[in-house]
Symmetry: C2
Subunit: 318 residues, 2 copies
Amino acid sequence: MSITVVGSIAFDAVRTPSGERERMLGGAATHFALAASFFDTVHVVGPVGDDFGAGDLAALATRGTRTGDVERIAGGRTFFWRGVYGEDLNTRETLDTQLNVFAQFAPKLSAAARAAGVLFLANIQPALQARVLDACDSPRFVALDSMNLWIETARDALVDVIARIDCLIVNDGELRQLTGRASLLAAAREVLGWGPSLVVAKQGENGAALITRDGSFALPAYPVAHVVDPTGAGDTFAGGFVGYVARHLDALGDRDVLRNAMAYGTALASHNVEEFGTERVERLRAQEIHDRVAELAAMTRFEPPALELREGVAARGA
Amino acid sequence: MSITVVGSIAFDAVRTPSGERERMLGGAATHFALAASFFDTVHVVGPVGDDFGAGDLAALATRGTRTGDVERIAGGRTFFWRGVYGEDLNTRETLDTQLNVFAQFAPKLSAAARAAGVLFLANIQPALQARVLDACDSPRFVALDSMNLWIETARDALVDVIARIDCLIVNDGELRQLTGRASLLAAAREVLGWGPSLVVAKQGENGAALITRDGSFALPAYPVAHVVDPTGAGDTFAGGFVGYVARHLDALGDRDVLRNAMAYGTALASHNVEEFGTERVERLRAQEIHDRVAELAAMTRFEPPALELREGVAARGA
């Protein structure tokens, strides 16, 4: 079932404790597509400028991703982000954001992109996400990401579009901010009440949690000893998760399907952070992903024991 | 194999979004003992004041915990802590700390406490932890907790005592601070190089990770929809973990033993936060813990699939 992703295509300049890159391919749609392309045909929808070269487009087309909906704006420049990560890689500071061609982005989808069975609305303005959803034929599975900016400035529009999707994929802090609920579980249940059947909370180095009406599942991040660059890890996770779902649309009720979707997302995200930007996932092989998923399954499994415990309750009467 | 814990016994005053308590039984040794007492006989070593009543002592003695090493300082008052938790329960502010009898604490261990096969050095001054270790006969398993205060003011003494123990159990942020390493895995490996064979990183709402020389294991926190009071969750986790280890000292090489120790710690900690202070764990039943461990095993398990992925690497030559 082919997948359409609508979101940013960017050049990123980053500095991390491991080094720096002055201009690397980035953006939410890019990272998503590079991961999801392992699973099925991806249509990328997003604008670029004159500075977006044939090599960049070729990288985006890795594993058969269709770039016909990448809109080149004559005379424009590609979205640019510059950031620097702190020592612990959990904090980052934005030094520069140039929206460029992204400022006027009005998604236009080809017939093939509209017909995709799976749609990922990457982090863009909620009203645009809704417009894309209107334009699509009738996707069987729609997932959406967002961010604090839209929660603060366009919450009503965001809640409206969330009500129309199947799966919300956001950072755990954003999930709390969106719902005003302190616990992850309470926050996720609030969102499930709005319409979606799945909520995925990305927790960065702490992994990710999946909450449905039937229960919850959580997976730690794969432990990477030397994280080079976390940029795009969340979108790479989403690409693995949504890609896996796209291959199993008729079996989403099967418990292991959504858990394996989490595992493939986690495995892909862990590869993503091993090098700068898209460098690692651009040349990743399928077997490397499978191996990491198998490792994740092995490193999280345990058999509860037969064990006699002592009993007794506090005798506070004294 | 009986367990000795040395640490604080306290009265806590807390306010959380769920309510408040003006004076509840608390302290690291208290929370640890209430959890570890499910597994084996616990000897609690710590000072209290005249204000520590017979009912408090009876609560500490739940499930057979020996309180003969609880030292009552005539004319003194029990350690007191007052704090308030933020809306998301992940932040807390200390409003008042009165060390009281804890300020002059010089641990004196009875023969029975010295002879315990397992020792938990709760978060106290590293030099005192070393002195307790010197005083003990020859425990087969020693675990230790610490905090940012000692990392900042007594790091050398802390590193010295860590070199003599089997297992470090600290918050993930403290593990990073202690080692100056950004990634959890790199930080844990640094500590393994100092001497311990196990490092447990507590990650609060995100669960806990176990790192050994052979690999790593991580378990999410059990999802509690309504957290009432997180006070003591870390020490309760440690009590479950160390208690489980105490029952399986001859089988620590068995992969499932340490993983189940993590699961029992996680289950107990999840019960602890359901009510204020020690209220929940004081009257917890063994079956409730077993049930939660079984749930944790079920909610983290998945079977990797047979799945054909697409292949291809970026063609950047263009």
